[in-house]
């Protein structure tokens, strides 16, 4: 589904490549942890996959197409096939939880009837039924992240990309969120989670791709992130 071929990304301000010569294949329905310390290149890799950034060298292929050839229209369609979850939730403070989740459908031009049908389903999947009219500030960190996940899955994306999704919540909540990701994955969605949380990675026994200083230094099925580099 996703194929990264010798991808290198050098930022103008960076002294070394954020990711360097990365090769990675992600199959449909996989659950992958992108593990590594801060600054290892996990976020950059997520941005390359979501086409928020373009590689300086190499290729990012999605469903067999080279994303470098995307025009604006393809880029938008590409993003609509992805669901993004952020460490800081990125919910709009002046909109209700319902409106935040609905926004993903509104920008895709979905009709109101479909929005009314899909949003409650997504909120139910993440356990936020009854919180539709709450504002983000009225929810706990864990609930806000669940709302972020609901927004990411409401379009039923092919791939769910999460960048340190448990970084701002306590351990128990983090575990609940990871179980939620696992359930979403069981529904057929490919899930990639960037994290530096060793315990969490070790607990779930999924495929682990370890990055360090922009390079892939490990790729194990049912792996763990316990190396000390």
């Amino acid at each position: 589904m996703i194929e990264i071929v010798s991808a290198t990304k050098v930022y103008k301000t960076g002294s070394r490549p954020a990711v360097e010569e990365v090769d990675l294949r992600v199959g449909r329905g996989e659950f992958i942890f992108l593990a590594g310390p801060m600054g290892a290149g996990k976020t950059t890799l997520i941005k390359l996959i979501s086409c928020e950034e373009r590689p300086t060298k190499g290729q990012i292929k999605f469903l067999g197409s080279d994303t470098a050839a995307y025009k604006e229209r393809h880029l938008l369609l590409h993003r609509r096939k992805m669901g993004l979850v952020f460490q800081d939730f990125r919910l709009l403070k002046n909109k209700t939880i319902y409106e935040n989740v609905a926004l993903a459908l509104v920008v895709s031009g979905r009709p109101p009837r479909e929005i009314k049908r899909r949003v409650p389903v997504a909120l139910d999947r993440v356990g936020l039924s009854g919180k539709e009219n709450s504002f983000p500030s009225e929810l706990s960190g864990g609930e806000q992240q669940r709302a972020g996940i609901a927004r990411a899955i409401v379009r039923e994306p092919l791939v769910l990309l999460a960048d340190e999704p448990t970084g701002n919540v306590d351990r128990e909540t983090a575990l609940g969120l990871m179980e939620l990701f696992e359930r979403i994955n069981e529904g057929g969605t490919t899930v990639l989670i960037a994290t530096h949380d060793r315990d969490m990675v070790g607990r779930f026994k999924k495929r682990v791709v370890t990055l360090e200083q922009g390079r892939v230094v490990g790729d194990e099925l049912q792996g763990s992130y316990d190396r000390v580099h």
């Binding site: 604006e72 880029l75 938008l76 590409h78 993003r79 990125r90 920008v107 031009g109 009709p111």
Partner: protein, 296 residues
């Protein structure tokens, strides 16, 4: 179609929210557009009226040909009639001329005193041409004929009106351009502030796959709404003021050529043009502000 209406509804809601959040700046921007358009409109109406006065004067222009005492009147009449462009020729006897002069003065005593041998007026012809443009040339040719003492066709008046009209046009264009640029800049600032306030939302929308058009349209609508509000205010004030001015002129001026422009077509052109211009100014401000903020 439903999707488009849904999308337009979303954009309109966002535009309204943005305007209400920055209502004071939006109001100042709209006021600036209103002032710019009111001044431009005022000058446009003044120019239209000056042009109308000129046309009225020119269409009634005639050459007064004053004869000297040695003039052979029938011969001169023949010569003038044969000139290219002359459409009519009336002889005004010096006695009839004096009566006309006296009537215009309303001074019977003076009229009696000047009657007979004391009449200082010469015989004259009143000549009309096919078009106003021919009058100066005809006047020159007639002045060269023997027996003609002098000619007068109000050329100085026409030249003065033309000169004033030219100044009015130049001043109005200069002031309006300055005000329009200022207004566009202000609308731009208002919209830019909205963009800055909604920067996070724009980022999130981009992540969710929103296209440039989707992101830009609410800001463009915001600019257009500001432009429309300002224009509406300007046109209301201008319309009421012009209505009073026109009414005053029609009721109080006995001079036919001072009648104001009241033809609906001309007024619709001026006011409609101003409406489009005002909305365009708002839209330009909006486009100018959002272009560099929303590249996908």
């Amino acid at each position: 179609m439903t999707v488009f209406i849904n999308y337009l509804g979303y954009c309109l809601r966002q535009a309204i929210i943005s305007v209400s959040r920055n209502r004071w700046l939006a109001l100042v921007s709209a006021a600036m557009i209103a002032v710019a358009l009111a001044i431009l409109g005022g000058f446009l109406l003044a120019a239209a009226n000056t042009n109308q006065v000129m046309k009225n004067v020119q269409s009634n222009l005639e050459i007064a040909v004053f004869l000297d005492t040695t003039a052979d009147i029938p011969e001169l009449e023949d010569k003038i009639e044969q000139l290219e462009g002359v459409t009519s020729l009336n002889f005004v006897d010096k006695h009839a001329g004096l009566q006309e002069f006296g009537r215009s003065l309303g001074d019977e005593a003076l009229l009696e005193e000047l009657t007979g041998k004391n009449n200082p007026l010469p015989h004259a012809f009143l000549v009309r041409g096919r078009s106003a443009g021919l009058i100066p040339g005809l006047a020159g040719q007639i002045e060269g004929l023997s027996g003609v003492e002098s000619v007068d066709y109000g050329g100085e008046l026409v030249q003065n009106i033309t000169r004033i009209s030219g100044w009015l046009n130049s001043i109005s264009i200069a002031i309006s351009v300055l005000l329009a640029v200022g207004a566009i800049f202000l609308v731009g600032t208002t919209v830019r502030l909205s963009v800055a306030i909604r920067r996070e939302e724009i980022e999130i929308m981009k992540h969710l796959g929103a296209g440039n058009r989707f992101i830009r349209l609410p800001f463009l609508l915001e600019g257009l709404a500001i432009g429309f509000t300002g224009t509406l205010a300007a046109l209301t004030v201008l319309g009421l003021a012009y209505h009073r001015f026109a009414l005053f002129l029609i009721q109080s001026s006995p001079l036919f050529f001072l009648h104001p422009v009241t033809a609906p077509v001309k007024l619709i052109l001026i006011f409609g043009g101003l409406l489009l211009l005002g909305i365009a100014m708002g839209g330009l401000g909006g486009i100018y502000s959002i272009r560099r903020f929303s590249g996908v």
